[in-house]
């Protein structure tokens, strides 16, 4: 009898089970690949920046924040604005990279943490930049990215990406984001 009760207790736990979102190994891999693809897309503008924009959902956003967990301010919302953020001129052509604030900079991301959420997944990663201040061997830890991802018919995409950049006021004294 005692054994039967024990088995019943194990089979029907008293605490209600919350529905936990889950990701498959394929989901983790695809999100990692999305992040790696971002680096190549942002460092090598092509086709007016649209390959960069298409890493996001159609209403995706890119923003900048000084604090982890804070969405900060949105710099680009939607495909056209994102294409411009990716180096495009809004007419399907890439701007002269020398005219852009990130000229000569290479992005390197590391330590991507992916967490399942009710709507997809969230991510955090570390960002390094090389070639800062025009010196090829100079690297800097530039904060990182805080993302939300959703799974679309085309695969995983960024819903939002926020560059969390604690020393942004100093770094961007003279920079104005693309309108």
């Amino acid at each position: 009898m005692r054994r039967a009760l024990l088995l019943a207790a194990l089979a029907f736990p008293l605490a209600p089970l919350a529905v936990q979102p889950a990701l498959t190994p394929e989901d983790f891999v695809a999100i990692k690949q999305l992040n790696a693809a971002y680096v190549f897309a942002i460092d090598n503008c092509s086709d007016g920046g649209y390959p960069y924009a298409d890493l996001y959902v159609d209403d995706g956003t890119f923003g900048v924040s000084q604090v982890w967990g804070d969405p900060g301010s949105v710099w680009a919302a939607g495909r056209e604005a994102l294409a411009k953020a990716g180096g495009g001129d809004g007419k399907g052509v890439c701007r002269d990279p020398k005219s852009m604030p990130g000229y000569g900079i290479h992005h390197i991301t590391a330590d991507l943490v992916i967490t399942p959420t009710a709507t997809g997944a969230s991510g955090r990663s570390v960002l390094f930049t090389s070639g800062v201040e025009g010196v090829p061997t100079r690297m800097r830890h530039d904060g990182g990215y805080e993302d939300s991802y959703v799974k679309t018919a085309k695969g995983w995409r960024f819903k939002t990406r926020v560059h969390v950049w604690p020393d942004i006021p100093e770094r961007l004294k003279n920079y104005k984001p693309a309108q």
Partner: protein, 194 residues
């Protein structure tokens, strides 16, 4: 050039979307290829097993080359197991004194690995950082990256080819002076003997 870049980004987009024509890769395949890439960094930095640990990351007929543009196969520097072991500082005679090798003091760090399924296996692109360039331990150079083809063998995933793509190699802290010297030597050889 724009076409090359577009091609690269197209491949990246396919990787991101998980769409790649007929071929597909499992999550285990992605993990195995990532592991192959990670082992490369250790094998090239530390001549182990006389360089054959490095060579065995490739297929028996695998190649290593260098290029200055993404999507360009460039020039092959080593083809086959023996040549690859030699590239890693070893070969039949065992490991050479690392101080005499081009990469002495350099540590390879590979990041942002994009893997795309292909009909034959997979294609990869990654970023290469070289620590310790110019003999300064804290000096880091972004040296472009690698562009690879992988095939699945009975021993697991292996590199069929790896190309070090280094667009700015001419001005590289590590390779620039060597290139300059090679160019000067070639010029001297072309000059008529007095």
């Amino acid at each position: 050039m724009r076409l090359i870049t577009a091609g690269i980004l197209g491949a990246a987009m396919l990787a991101a979307s998980g769409q790649a024509g007929a071929a597909t890769l499992t999550a285990q395949d992605y993990i195995d290829i990532e592991q192959l890439n990670a082992r490369y960094a250790f094998a090239i930095d530390q001549c182990t097993n006389s360089g054959y640990d490095y060579a065995d990351l490739y297929t028996d007929d695998g190649t290593f080359g260098v290029s200055e543009a993404w999507g360009d196969k460039g020039k092959t520097y080593a083809a086959g197991r023996e040549a690859l072991a030699t590239v890693a500082g070893g070969g039949k005679g065992g490991c050479r004194d690392p101080k005499g090798t081009i990469g002495y003091g350099i540590k390879h760090v590979i990041t942002d690995h994009v893997i795309t399924p292909t009909a034959e296996g997979a294609h990869g692109k990654s970023i290469l950082l070289a620590f310790g360039v110019g003999g300064v331990a804290t000096q880091v150079e972004h040296q472009g990256g690698y562009e690879d083809t992988y095939v699945k063998t009975d021993k697991g995933w292996r590199m069929k080819s790896r190309v070090h793509v280094f667009p700015n190699i001419a001005t590289s802290v590590q390779f620039g002076p060597l290139r300059q010297k090679a160019a000067e030597d070639a010029k001297k050889q072309q000059q008529p003997q007095q």
